[in-house]
Symmetry: C2
Subunit: 323 residues, 2 copies
Amino acid sequence: MSKTINIPGACRLLREHDDVLILAHQKPDGDTLGSAFALMWALEALGKRARVECSDPLPENYRVITGEYAPIAFTPRFVVSVDIANPDLLGRLRESWEGKIDLCIDHHQRNTMDAAHSLIDPTVPATAELVYQIVTELGVSFDTRIAGAIFMGLATDTGCFRYASVTAGTHRIAAEMIEAGARHGEINRIMFDTRSRALIEMDKLILNTLEYHFGGLCAMVIITREATGRLGVVDHELDGVSALPRRIQGVEVGLALREIEGGWRVSVRTRESIDSSALCATFGGGGHKAAGGCTIHGDEQAVRKLLLPAVEDALRNAGLLPQ
Amino acid sequence: MSKTINIPGACRLLREHDDVLILAHQKPDGDTLGSAFALMWALEALGKRARVECSDPLPENYRVITGEYAPIAFTPRFVVSVDIANPDLLGRLRESWEGKIDLCIDHHQRNTMDAAHSLIDPTVPATAELVYQIVTELGVSFDTRIAGAIFMGLATDTGCFRYASVTAGTHRIAAEMIEAGARHGEINRIMFDTRSRALIEMDKLILNTLEYHFGGLCAMVIITREATGRLGVVDHELDGVSALPRRIQGVEVGLALREIEGGWRVSVRTRESIDSSALCATFGGGGHKAAGGCTIHGDEQAVRKLLLPAVEDALRNAGLLPQ
């Protein structure tokens, strides 16, 4: 059973220990890496040894904050996980570290890490906001590197300050990190204004599959394995695609069908009127009100025959289609 | 000859006058409208009469800040322009108000408005930041409406806080506006997460015209009049398209060709290596280092024959292609 602690409590633990291993989640994103590197550099500023580990190699575009990273060797005596909601997300590091994590720092509502100590705050839009508070409480001054890493976490987990989850506090931390030397223009350009040729080709293919149903209340895109394979696009690069259909004016239910072995992974995004998780639960899936997912077995036609009537029912129940 | 004034000077003028007409630029965007409405409501809070006028109707998506706007009738005794860089941008209001503007508030480097008094600060990324300072100096408290309008201006002129022009101060104002009740989540969703079906179709068409030149150092898209006409997309809705080719990894020169009567409007976007304005100057155009434009007469083939060799030369001069 994990013991819940607050920021000063987490700082006390970090001060008391040395040789700290910091774990980032698999398929790393800007928040897990930004949080991990900021924490590592802050601990180093306190004279400690620390290193970051991740199941997957660090994607090229995070170099802007990590630089060339050469982890130092030591036997960990304190293990911290950052932005990791469940043990599955440890990836191949699960075998070594599951059940041995001393401090879990996260902002996901449903965290099932079962670390010795947990600092979990779902009110912040990014784990980096918690790490900012830790670094501040530790009395470490924000150098350019730490500021850049924190900024990366904030920006990437909020769609560049776009989501409703952003608070006044998030903007204030961003301001402080810019003053401390975060190269925000460059970070934002790399993360939000650069797209690989393969992903641009993918956008094109996906837009060509776009179809509307129920008078434009539902939009759907289809991503085949043939397409992703041919373009060499990997799974996590497609995460943004799920949001595309709902972005279209008038769309209440956005669907993205991604082909997997023996069936389809369905991403559902809805506006206020429809509960995504309830819709996905029909097919054994789940999620949140505005975003859910499920897996449906069978070929494309079979999936359509199951999925579209369920969407139609949901639209009818919401009063958006006539009874 | 316009007299340059500062924030307290502008506030003195605004305090001294009543019946204030506030002009927004044609094809209005979030900054001109956010600035105009925030200023109007602040003046009303001081017991004055004020109204906003614009050459074009207010686009639907700005209702989130303006609400149903019914301007009040009075004969203007003081005229303010906000975010208007030159008299052309007054549109059909030019005839009535050119040369009669008492106060020009703007953040564009090259402002040629020639108002009686000018408050121009190119160091802020949005005119709304100047209006924020004015409202503060006037001692008017930020209600939900004013806060929303200022936030709209900041967010839309910075690509939702993405551009390098954003400063720590911009984020701090955003924080204050959120605390004052700006519905930032809703504003951002409407401005950055919603796209009309026509524009989505346009994206599809444009991506299908995407072509690479010089080993991927240059990317080009082509927008025909047939396509825009058929989809009913209007000119200013296409502004974002110009940025697309440069967003692609490895692209140093992004070109967007938009068909006009008798020729093509060419938008050029470059990375650090190439000067857009110099490239455009070859064809009688101009602009900034990273973004320029020019008009080339002739059919598509004729434009290609002129434009692509000029791009090739620029890439060669920058050392990106062998001599």
